[in-house]
């Protein structure tokens, strides 16, 4: 036996002080209060044309763009919210007692032979929705489809360290990695894509590139139809492997682009939930007794990015002046509607083995200190008023509010920011091409410091929009990737973060709550702080 239980370390990494550090941010209200009178009227009135009369049909407004239901090719969390109800993975994310954990899903057990070899024993008798068997072959097929399939999966990098896949028996599969891979559970489950999600090989062969429109998984719900800009329909999978689940008969994700229309539909009882609630509507939904808001601070951080490749922000003193010169309290209030918390460094609260609940007093990170900002500004090469371009777009959780709030703060340290409003597609291109002085951005749904730090700021990395590079930062992050002991990893990530904060290619702003809304009729929704809408335990009262 190994003296270190690697699996326990990997799986329990997130077990934790989350509850204590966060408190209960879930907003509970109006329980037992029925729909408002008008709402109940409309329901009776509407029942004929608008909803099929069966009790187990939930209708959820999907506000964000869904690109494909192929777990290996999507780049959007909005798609994952649907995909997760159709597919299962080797592992799944759970959230119990304030701790995010990774538990076996299609696997019955998960063992580490040594720190590079993972053995998964699969559940017996699991079938895909097309009737084919989900066995080790299917798992191998899915992993290889991500790792080396054609066309290339955007998530292939997550399995780059995977060396061999061995099928020990029809229900046992052994994965060997070239290095110890602390990031594995997140790679299989995390962020905007599901490298470890298992798809039906028969369906992939049958539909080819159209799999994303004809997904076949093992999940609690079967895919029925997808009408463009209209709705995605799912129905109960009666053969689902978890006994007695799912509870609902039908699920409709209704595409609604206009959030205020969705809120109105919710109040009128015409829908039962929303996948997302934009911050400007949170207070309104909060005040409505017929709905319940689910949301906690999730694994994200937002920043103002500075282009370190060119003047004026190639000057570290000017960057530091910005980093210390942003009034975070005002930002939280004006740009984030008072709903977010201040971020001192990128590591966010749900990464409970790494997040320091006392970070505000720890002296680490960045915060608002006008004197320090002026001191750094005085050291900057250019002592005249500096004109810069702040590129903004109507995108992200709060649109252009950040830029508008930040600009006057920059004026106080002698930086005149010209706000340039561009269309979102242009914004993406210019961000990726480094054609800006300032911009703001958010990295969301991260569950591990590796994905929250390294790809974003490694030298020459494609997501390193500020174009910053530091060899020591890279070294610490790389070291941390092959260390499994959380305490040691934390130490390395703190060192990396400290370098990042001290060189300030970015000015930290906030960790945001991500909201979901359900009508009070909806029961049993299990909130997971990774922007998921898992419906297998949900029922309608």
């Amino acid at each position: 036996m190994n003296d270190i239980d690697h699996k326990k370390i990997l799986a329990d990494r997130f077990a934790s002080r989350l509850a204590a550090s966060l408190g209960r941010r879930t907003v509970l209200k109006g329980i037992g209060a029925g729909m408002i009178a008008a709402g109940s009227v409309s329901q009776g009135f509407l029942s004929q044309p608008a909803r099929a009369a069966d009790g187990g049909h939930i209708r959820i407004a999907a506000l964000k763009h869904i690109d494909t239901l192929d777990p290996h090719f999507t780049g959007f969390l909005a798609s994952i919210q649907v995909i997760n109800n159709i597919h299962n993975g080797l592992l799944k994310i759970t959230y119990k007692d304030g701790a995010v954990k990774f538990e076996p899903d299609l696997a019955e057990s998960w063992d580490l032979e040594d720190d590079k070899t993972h053995v998964f024993k699969l559940r017996d008798g699991v079938k895909f929705h097309d009737g084919t068997v989900c066995d080790a072959e299917a798992v191998k097929f899915s992993l290889l489809r991500v790792k080396e399939g054609e066309p290339k999966s955007p998530h292939a990098w997550k399995l780059a360290l995977l060396e061999t896949i061995e099928i020990l028996d029809p229900l046992t599969i052994k994965l060997t990695f070239s290095k110890p891979y602390a990031f594995l559970p997140v790679a299989l489950n995390g962020s905007t894509g599901r490298a470890g999600t298992v798809v039906s090989p028969a369906a992939v062969q049958k539909h080819g590139k159209d799999y994303g429109r004809n997904p076949v998984g093992t999940g609690p719900f079967k895919f029925v139809s997808w009408r463009e800009n209209d709705s995605i329909e799912l129905e109960k999978n009666p053969d689902y492997f978890e006994d007695g689940l799912p509870l609902l008969d039908k699920v409709s994700f209704i595409m609604m682009k206009e959030p205020s229309s969705a809120v109105a539909a919710l109040m009128a009882g015409q829908i039962d939930g929303m996948t997302d609630c934009p911050m400007q509507l949170v207070s309104q939904v909060d005040a409505f007794p017929g709905a319940k808001l689910y949301g906690e601070i999730e694994g994200n951080y937002t920043y103002v990015g500075m282009n370190t490749r060119r003047a004026p922000f190639d000057d570290i003193n000017l960057r530091l002046a910005v980093a210390w010169g942003l009034d975070r309290e005002t930002l939280l209030k004006q740009a984030y509607f008072g709903r977010a918390i201040q971020s001192y460094t990128p590591i966010s609260p749900p990464m409970s083995d790494f997040y320091d609940p006392n970070i505000a007093t720890s002296g680490r990170g960045q915060w608002f200190d006008p004197d320090k900002a002026q001191a750094f500004r005085a050291k900057a090469t250019n002592q005249n008023e500096i004109e810069v371009t702040y590129m903004m777009a109507e995108r992200g959780p709060v649109g252009t509010r950040i830029a508008q709030t930040v600009a006057p703060m920059l004026a106080k340290i002698g930086i005149k920011a010209k706000l340039e409003l561009v269309e979102p597609a242009t914004w993406v291109q210019r961000r990726n091409g480094g054609d800006f002085d300032l911009f703001d951005f958010e990295w969301v749904a991260d569950l591990d410091p590796d994905e929250t730090l390294y790809p974003e700021f490694k030298s020459g990395g494609p997501w390193n929009f500020p174009g910053w590079s530091n060899a020591d930062f890279d070294k610490y992050c790389e070291e941390a990737q092959v260390v499994l002991d959380p305490a040691k990893r934390r130490e390395l990530y703190y060192k990396a973060e400290d370098i990042l904060m001290a060189e300030a290619p970015i000015a930290m702003m906030a960790h945001m709550p991500i909201y979901k809304v359900f009508s009070t009729k909806v029961q049993g929704f299990q909130y997971i702080p990774a922007d998921l809408i898992n419906l297998h335990t949900v029922s309608l009262a």
Binding site: P49, D67, P151, K152, P154, G193, D210, E258, N432
Partner: protein, 315 residues
């Protein structure tokens, strides 16, 4: 007559060809890399290159255009690369009927309400009725459809719970359900045109009612309703049809906003989401489809003149 029609049809095809070149080039000139947008934030350089090749975006522009045109005229509109759906089915079978239903309902509503109001206001010129209709017309033109739409949703959907606020029910499958779902969106889209029709009808009719032949008709002892609705209103048909043909563009534009607010899966939503995603094939198909609609309707208007006004019949 036949020759004239042929010439008009030929002109129409020429116009559409120009539209196709213009929209194709504009889309390519627009900044933003479709592949970057499609892949989201997390992807590798290989994934990017692989998708560029798959989409044929690495080939010369002229080649891309001619390939597209060749396929387009033969009815092969390609596959939407985000949706992986057949564009022809998506655009023509799914989206277009929604927009046509919305536009037709709005236009129908505008005519049914607008013409009588216009008549009322012309006949009762300079009375309270006239002033009321003028106020109505001004308000109608002044309210942008997205604002009116949200207002109606809040009042009739959320507060009173009288109408559904989203979704499309095909009236050919469930007529009353379709009508019920279409009431708010159709009203939202119609106000602008309703107002326009009221003013146009009033202006034309006021002028017509002063003509000698109206006086003559009255003198012959024809009943008042006949004078107005038969002799008078016939003259409104011509300008009305002309204006409606020309305003079809505004109608389709308003439909985009109305569809977004009421979550209707029509052409407007199709084109906007495709533009934001730089999904060239779908945008191109959408633009061609609406351009065709516009041009064809105006062609029909042109060809209809001789029937509306016998004086225009070629001799």
């Amino acid at each position: 007559m036949f020759l004239l029609a042929c010439r008009k049809v030929f002109q129409t095809i020429f116009v559409l060809l120009i539209v196709s070149v213009a929209s194709f080039s504009l889309l390519k000139l627009a900044p933003g890399d479709p592949v970057e947008i499609m892949l989201g934030n997390e992807y590798s350089a290989e994934a990017h290159a692989s998708l560029v090749a798959e989409l044929g975006l690495d080939r010369p522009l002229a080649e891309q255009y001619l390939t597209w045109l060749g396929h387009f005229v033969t009815g092969d509109w390609g596959t939407s690369f985000i949706a992986r759906a057949d564009i022809f089915t998506y655009a023509v079978v799914e989206a277009l009927p929604v927009t046509l239903t919305l536009a037709a309902s709005a236009l129908g509503l505008a005519i049914v309400v607008g013409v009588p109001l216009g008549v009322l206001s012309a006949v009762r010129k300079d009375t309270v009725w006239d002033a009321g209709a003028a106020v109505f017309a001004l308000t109608g033109t002044a309210f942008p459809s997205f604002f009116l739409g949200i207002l109606l949703i809040w009042i009739f959907g959320a507060k009173l719970g009288l109408f559904p606020v989203m979704g499309f029910v095909p009236p050919w499958e469930d007529f009353w359900g379709g009508v019920y779902h279409m009431i708010l969106p159709a009203f939202t889209l119609s106000t602008y045109f309703m107002a326009m029709i009221v003013r146009l009808t009033r202006a034309t009719l006021v002028e017509v009612l002063e003509q000698p032949y109206i006086a003559a008709a009255r003198a012959r002892g024809e009943p008042g309703w006949r004078v107005i609705w038969i002799h008078g209103l016939r003259n409104v048909a011509m300008p009305l049809v002309t204006i409606l043909g020309l305003q079809l563009g505004a109608l389709l534009q308003g439909a985009v906003l109305t569809e977004t607010v009421f979550s209707l899966p029509g052409t407007g939503q199709m084109i906007t989401s495709a533009v934001l995603g730089r999904e060239y094939g779908v945008v191109q198909a959408g633009v061609m489809m609406t351009a065709t609609l516009f041009v064809v309707v105006n062609l029909i208007v042109d060809l209809a003149y001789p029937f509306l006004d016998p004086r225009l019949k070629p001799t």
